[in-house]
Subunit: 169 residues, 2 copies
DNA sequence: ACCTGAACACCGTTCAAGT
DNA sequence: ACCTGAACACCGTTCAAGT
């Protein structure tokens, strides 16, 4: 339902029909619509994490980072509605459970620890994630309207970050 | 209404009451609720732009950039609901008109042109904006949950970007 | 224990009717 | 030209009643 019609289409009635049940029955499994969207967001984190993890296998940490961020953006473009749920500001009680996000970001932390050193891993991962999320969110919102090819700015940003975080000579 | 209760509180009925009119009358001025939120987003771009512009006065482009990005984050924290409208993915017809975003980003383009050279201004501004937006969006969504002080990562990211974009020796 | 029908309070939006 | 009352189609959610 989300992929087809966006979050507005994820209606308690529509979900109930899809599951073959009446709407009120959903409240036996889930406290409300917001919580349901939070669960979908958690599942989206899991899918995204499964796409990122293999990229950590690249022996060169710098190209591993590039590959991972590129895969991140590709997944967001392939599943724009699900992506929009990852960092949606839902009521705190209905947010994707923290552990889904933590698992999805684990491979990135590993790669940046190799690239920049363990003591800079968390900080570096936050900087890279902020850039990737911000870029993709602006792309999906149609916010790059000043011409040129936004994708070039993405690659430039990734290279710039990878170079700056690389502690090797 | 937005500041008080978030976008959900911006109801056609609530707006009409605030304006002293019946709900159907709003449709004489605005095609629908989505378009109304888009207009609010446009106004938010104007306010943000007014906060960023003075930072361009700093004679050192690198500290001008730091000041501008810091002001950006401060404004987002002060008006989280309005900020959430800037890059919300509304139906294209209801998005904040492009010129509001363009005006708000003009001072940043100017500063980065001074720092990195005019031919890298657009690309650099996109990288910096992506980082700033992504970071703030994740903060507001409560996405930094792995401990430490996220603000340190923000400062580190800004310094890293400013240094990487600086073409001066 | 689980599902349902009916109801409640609330939406966005349309439109004929008033002035 | 502008505003309104009434209505329509749809929400999320609650709850007593069934099985």
């Amino acid at each position: 339902l989300l992929d087809e019609g966006g979050p507005d289409a994820v209606t308690m009635l529509a979900v109930a029909e899809r599951v073959g049940v009446q709407a009120p029955s959903l409240y036996k499994r889930v406290p409300g619509r917001a919580a349901l969207l939070g669960l979908v967001g958690g599942a989206a984190f899991d899918e995204l994490g499964a796409v990122l993890a293999p990229c950590a296998g690249d022996p060169d940490p710098r190209s591993a980072l590039r590959g991972m961020v590129t895969a991140y953006r590709a997944w967001a473009h392939a599943h724009p509605r699900a992506y929009g749920l990852l960092f949606a500001d839902l009521p705190a009680a209905a947010r994707p459970p923290a552990d889904h996000g933590a698992r999805a970001s684990a491979p990135l932390l590993g790669v940046i620890a190799r690239l920049a050193g363990p003591h800079r891993a968390l900080e570096g991962a936050r900087v890279v994630t902020a850039f990737a999320h911000g870029f993709v969110a602006m792309e999906l919102a149609g916010a790059f309207r000043l011409g040129g090819d936004p994708a070039e700015a993405f690659d430039a940003g990734v290279d710039l970050l990878a170079a700056a975080l690389d502690r090797r000579p």
